[in-house]
Subunit: 215 residues, 2 copies
DNA sequence: GAGTCATTCTAACATTAATTGGATTGTTTG
DNA sequence: CAAACAATCCAATTAATGTTAGAATGACTC
């Protein structure tokens, strides 16, 4: 085999991995799976696409070993194949945010009412531990159960209205969700402030917060 | 604008960045540009594709801000837009190598005659400094000039035959090139051992060696 | 300013990917 | 074992991408 044929093969392999995640829908699925394992139905619902399409995209992700699946009763539960894939999603969306002016613009356009002025996870967690702030996790409870920031309180966005009375109005509320591409925390902060709470948003999710490549 | 429309836009942006590198040829161009800036002609030659196709792929990379171009006389010299893109290439090929059995197989198939048993860059560089080994960089000299491992000697693969007499046969030779997807060092080691040298290969390139994510 | 040379553009074609609806598989539950 | 249900497969349509050859652009050179 010639050197050219060898190189073509090698680069083709890396390209198959890259191609498998180079689609808006598949990136969205990855973001969801980075939070916690989910069934096809759940993924389709969250990402607002048909079951068939979701299944097709999952197949593509599986063939590049980005996700695994296990049968659970009559459901199939998909999960991220390993931590590095979740980190790759973080790397990609951060890089895109630094690199693409159009994305920067869009992120500015949807900036939350208030972003917290806390600037490290450590400080955030410490303030939550000292009860200086009320740190709430507004993702679905299954995602909270799978992993969450220490000292955070689970208050899923869909239950916010009914359970908001468990929050104090005289202590700052800081909300977070899956990360900068998830709008739950943004919506939660907007609603809370409207109700008279002192709410702001922590823009990163669990994966982002645990993976800071600043040296 | 609905939340769905916003999310679609955001994920689409990250996908455009990802798509721009999700092609074997474009990954190969990125690997070449990670070494040093190059003209379209040089890239086409090294990657063995037509000028027109090279230009088209570069256009795709440029539109996602992965590369920059500057006019130099009648040439246009392309370069990596920033260090993070080079690192992304490293992350991707390493991840693919861990993840895809087929790629693992291919890499095994082309394993060099001898891989050095040195296992950290620091040790490699230190041995070169102490002249315990002869560390040779077999990439084209322009790439060496742009960046190289400390204490390495430039001995481009195409000049190896004519300049090999500058190497001592009684001291180990360690050769490196662009990284695990470049076959120059492999070819160099094979030829050198055939000529009676004691040669082995360092599998990483400059970018890989400077970017070890082991914590 | 005509000619040369590097690069890009254009148009055409071939290939591959995304998406949908309906049929199919396989599991669970009565 | 039949009904119910989750998920995948299949076939067909549409959209996007890769590739080539040749024309066009735009910079430098004599």
């Amino acid at each position: 085999m010639t050197n050219r044929q060898i190189k073509d093969q090698l680069f083709a392999q890396v390209a198959t991995l890259t191609k498998s995640i180079a689609s808006p829908k598949r990136l969205e699925l990855l973001e969801l799976l980075a939070q916690s394992p989910k069934t096809v139905e759940q993924l389709a619902e969250e990402a607002e696409m048909s079951i068939a399409l979701t299944s097709a995209h999952l197949k593509a992700l599986k063939s590049a070993q980005c996700v695994r699946v296990k049968q659970e009763g009559k459901y199939r539960r998909y999960e991220i194949a390993n931590e590095q894939i979740a980190q790759l999603w973080v790397i990609l969306h951060r890089l895109a945010a630094e690199q693409l002016p159009e994305l920067q613009q869009q992120l500015t356009d949807i900036a939350p009412q208030r972003t917290t002025d806390i600037d490290s996870v450590e400080e955030l967690i410490s303030l939550a531990e000292l009860q200086q702030i009320q740190l709430i996790d507004v993702r679905p409870s299954a995602e909270f159960a799978h992993a969450h920031l220490p000292h955070a309180l689970s208050l899923p966005i869909h239950e916010l209205e009914s359970k908001a009375d468990s929050l104090a109005k005289d202590k700052p509320v800081v909300a977070y969700c899956r990360g900068p591409f998830c709008l739950y925390a943004r919506d939660a902060v907007a609603w809370l402030n409207q109700q008279g709470f002192n709410a702001s948003q922590w823009q990163d999710g669990v994966t982002e917060s645990h993976y800071n490549d600043k040296p």
